[in-house]
């Protein structure tokens, strides 16, 4: 049975006739959930990141056939305010903002982990998110604020 997927707490029927439809297209085209962005379509840029059963995935790489019975959270399904968003805003962690929802989703995930990873660990794990505007410095400042004592040697700290 093709079944249903739960997206932001709402059950959505899956089209069994289109098993290779991408989760990203289901979100953006069918449900008008445009928080997940189309950046590359090959899983490299991270702009389409959502949580699948609580863990970050690139929604451009997830086929409809894999979704039955699973739980998807998009940025629209998360609280509008959070420390992640506050520090990204305060530290210049975005400019054009197109990559921001993807970064936010991954950061929310890592911020919820126990034990919390260090800024350096999160930095490595965020290498799957591309940002073309900030040069990542504002994102690094945000990581320092979110994940630990501000790391020495970073200018501006």
């Amino acid at each position: 049975m093709s079944g249903e997927v739960t997206i932001n707490g709402i059950n959505v029927a899956l089209d069994a006739g289109r098993p290779t439809r991408r989760l990203l297209d289901i979100l953006r085209e069918d449900l008008q959930l445009t928080g997940a962005k189309h950046g590359c379509g090959v899983g490299r840029c991270g702009a389409c990141t959502v949580l699948l059963d609580g863990a970050p995935v690139q929604s451009c790489l997830v086929f409809s056939a894999k979704l039955a019975g699973r739980n998807v959270t998009t940025i629209e399904g998360t609280p509008e305010t959070s420390p992640t968003r506050s520090v990204l805003a305060a530290e210049g962690g975005f400019q054009c903002g197109y990559c921001a929802p993807g970064f936010v989703m991954s950061l929310e995930y890592w911020a919820s982990q126990s034990p919390r990873p260090s800024p350096a660990e999160v930095e490595r794990m965020l290498a799957g998110h591309l940002c073309r505007c900030t040069g990542y410095a504002g994102i690094r400042r945000a990581l320092a604020a979110l994940f630990g004592p501000s790391s020495k040697g970073l200018p501006g700290q």
Partner: protein, 751 residues
């Protein structure tokens, strides 16, 4: 002397006005906003780099249920072409394709799957023609011409003094040929948008670009339609970097929506964007530069050959800018500069942050570094000994005199990284440090679209609206407008709405050439006192007070010096009392142009940078560790925007210098997405530090200058010099690849 460090600027960060919607995934990008019933557009693109179109058979595609309309060149009602300098890039190719990705037909269908099926069902027969892929031979008499005028897109020369006599008196001379790569913009949002036929017979086009008024004029010509029937919304967008300087999806969106009478949306795939979008112009630059025994520069000869690809796009202006920057801030007794921009079938190059200047600056700063080494002089001193008088432009034009290369150079020479490079403990690695010094013209050259307009009004909601036809691509124009307007009026940023990117607002010319910050600031500086006067006068009438007892403040009009905790009259109440008679002022923003009759820039700014790199001798990998720059770009209006542009420009410059590589052959790029074409990620990003020199000159009244390009331009030569110094190798080609590093490390004489 007013300078601010990164830490000081950081403490002055104010949250950007667009933070909330961007960080919550709210709808705002034009690719997120199409009506749910919009048809989906898609384009058939050539996989042949040069060829004659023999036939287009649309029958099978048209028979697919759900295909609403198919268009070819015959359906374009007006001029089938666009481009700022020559309208030679077809909306749809009629008889000939000149690059892979050239559009031949487009469809509108009820959904994306059907649009894709229709594209697959189109039968286009193209007869391949000989390719022009080598810029060196593009101008040969036996090379096929890509355009009626041949393959020369643009040519420029400049000479001063007797170059051969000058070289004869040189004690040291460096001569080499430099090459720069085809960098891709890779804005994270891929080009897209939608068009809507309105009930009143007009059309609304929503797609990112640098210039809504320019789009409107170009679309009017393409559609043979009155410009007033076309309304363009060109921002916000998810980055551009020059990539949306020319039209992308707009012409076909408008054409398809007109012919179907329905809204149409379209967004390119990344592969499509890379295939058909613009790139940075690859340059081949020969330089011969000489100085006397004491290190005084004497002679400089430059020959440039650049590849603009299939269409003119920005080619002429890029070449002119490159030539204008080929002397940098240095003084030569004699120069001979020549440049040619040629057409090829190698994709298409266009505007790109750094715009011709960065290619020349890379080559020149390598020459300077190498000459300083020959003279055996610290390169900072060599540079400072050779600076041109600051009011003098490189082409003899009078400038604003705002560039201060000596100040930025002194500041960078004092930066710790420059004098104390940490030692490398393992023999596997070698470290190097490199310096760069550049000046960069702001705005367009003389005669360009430098002037503009801006309006400031009180809206019915009580918001003070700053409206100007520049765009928000992420660079922070909205924040500059909000911070400048709040400061000029004495109100809070939350009282301000900055409205950008609309063709119905005053035109301010293209959002390019680092000019937006200055244009917005100067417009607000003129309009704010006019609006302020009106607001105080109208409030005085409403409150039955004298205007000089009142002042503007957070959220409204306050009693001067009364120490109250709320305004006497809120802006929204004032607006409500005025009905439709709301105050509004539209002002002109004067062009900043040289008084000289020389087609050149007038306002130059200086930046200097130092970079350190760590090179792995085993793998050839280059890790850029640290970049520090000093920029003298005037008062910083929006610290969060300024710092962000420096940090982002530095990393994009890093990409151009050591990472972003797009090989091609027979007109075809080897990479089609971000899994092949590498842009910097978090683990590639260096530490970036900066010092902003804010007091350019006591007599300078132009205010803030843009930082968007100079930060990239100054980084590229600093990294190249750092790698060259680490390897003791010439480094003539960008990007510097691991194979180049390993070749440089090989003992001389080994193959």
């Amino acid at each position: 002397m007013t300078t601010r460090s990164l830490a000081e600027l950081r403490r002055a960060f104010a949250e950007r006005p667009d933070a909330n919607w961007k960080l919550t995934g709210g709808k705002g990008f034009l690719t997120d906003l199409a009506p749910a019933d919009a048809l989906v557009g898609r384009v058939w693109r050539s996989s042949v780099a040069h060829g004659r179109i023999r036939s287009i058979d649309t029958r099978a595609a048209a028979a697919i249920p759900g295909v609403v309309r198919i268009v070819t060149a015959a359906d374009v009602p007006g001029v089938n072409g666009f481009g700022h300098y020559a309208a030679d890039q077809p909306v749809l190719c009629s008889d000939r394709v000149r690059m892979i990705g050239d559009p031949v037909a487009a469809v509108a269908a009820v959904n994306a799957d059907i649009a894709a099926q229709a594209i697959a069902a189109l039968k286009v027969d193209i007869d391949p023609m000989p390719l022009v892929i080598n810029p060196e031979t593009a101008l040969g008499s036996d090379t096929i011409a890509l355009h009626p005028q041949g393959n020369l897109c643009h040519e420029k020369r400049y000479e001063r003094g007797d170059i051969e006599t000058a070289f004869a008196s040189c004690a040291f001379c460096v001569e080499d040929t430099y090459y720069t790569g085809r960098q891709l913009h890779i804005a994270m949002e891929v080009e897209g948008g939608y068009a809507v036929p309105e009930a009143d017979g007009t059309f609304s086009v929503y797609a990112g670009s640098h210039f809504p008024h320019g789009d409107q004029a170009a679309l009017a010509a393409i559609m043979a339609m009155e410009p007033s029937r076309i309304r363009v919304t060109a921002s916000p967008m998810g980055g551009s970097f020059g990539g949306r300087d020319t039209l992308s999806v707009q012409p076909l969106l408008l054409l398809l929506s007109q012919l179907t009478g329905r809204p149409v949306k379209m967004q390119r795939s990344r592969a499509e964007s890379i295939m058909c979008g613009d790139t940075r112009h690859p340059f081949r630059i020969r330089m011969r530069t000489g100085c006397d025994g004491a290190g005084r520069l004497i002679a400089h000869q430059v020959d440039m050959l650049a590849d603009t690809g299939a269409y003119t796009t920005s080619g002429p202006e890029v070449l002119e800018t490159s030539l204008e920057n080929a002397q940098g801030p240095y003084d030569f007794a004699a120069v001979a500069l020549s440049g040619r921009m040629v057409f090829t079938n190698n994709g298409n190059a266009g505007a790109f942050r750094g715009f011709g200047a960065v290619q020349a600056q890379f080559a020149l700063e390598r020459q300077i570094e190498r000459l300083a080494a020959l003279v055996d002089m610290p390169s900072a001193r060599f540079r400072s000994n050779n600076l041109r008088p600051i009011a003098e432009g490189s082409l003899g034009q009078v400038t604003t005199g705002a560039q201060h290369p000596a100040r930025v150079l002194d500041a960078i020479a004092a930066y710790p990284l420059h004098s104390r490079l940490p030692e490398v403990s393992e023999t596997r690695y070698v470290r190097g440090v490199g310096l760069s010094l550049i000046t960069k013209g702001e705005g367009f050259g003389k005669g360009g679209p430098n002037a503009g307009g801006l309006s400031m009004s009180l809206a019915p909601t009580g918001k003070i609206v700053v409206a100007i036809g520049v765009v928000e691509m992420g660079q922070g124009a909205t924040a500059v407008g909000a911070e400048a307007a709040a400061k000029a009026l004495g109100v809070a940023q939350t009282d301000i709405t900055v409205q950008l990117g609309l063709s119905r607002d005053p035109s301010a010319g293209p959002s390019a050439a680092s000019r937006v910050t200055g244009v917005v600031y100067r417009g607000i500086r003129t309009a704010a006192p006019l609006l302020s006067n009106d607001l105080l006068r109208l409030a005085a009438r409403h409150l039955n007070r004298r205007a000089d007892e009142l002042e503007l403040g957070r959220a409204g009009i306050w009693e001067k010096g009364a120490g109250r905790n709320q305004p006497l009259l809120s802006f929204s109440k004032l607006a409500g009392s005025l009905g439709e008679a709301l105050p509004s002022h539209q002002v002109e923003i004067a062009a900043v142009e040289t008084p000289s009759q020389i087609k050149s820039h007038s306002d130059f700014n200086a930046a200097s940078a130092v970079a350190s790199v760590l090179i792995d001798r085993c793998t050839g990998a280059i890790k850029v560790e640290h970049i520090a720059m000093v920029a003298a770009c005037g008062p910083v209006i929006s610290p969060i925007g300024f710092v962000g542009q420096v940090e982002g420009g530095a990393v994009m410059g890093l990409g151009m210098a050591v990472l972003e590589f797009l090989p091609q052959d027979q007109g075809k790029y080897f990479f089609r997405n971000l899994d092949g074409y590498m842009v910097p990620s978090l683990i590639d990003a260096p530490v970036v530090d900066l010092i902003a020199i804010e007091d350019i000159d006591a007599s300078d009244d132009l205010g803030p200058r843009g930082i968007g390009e100079i930060s990239l331009n100054v980084t590229v030569p600093a990294i190249a010099n750092a790698v060259a110094n680490a390897l003791n190798a010439p480094v003539v080609r960008l990007p510097i690849r691991p194979a180049d590093v390993l070749a440089a490390l090989r003992p001389k004489g080994e193959a």
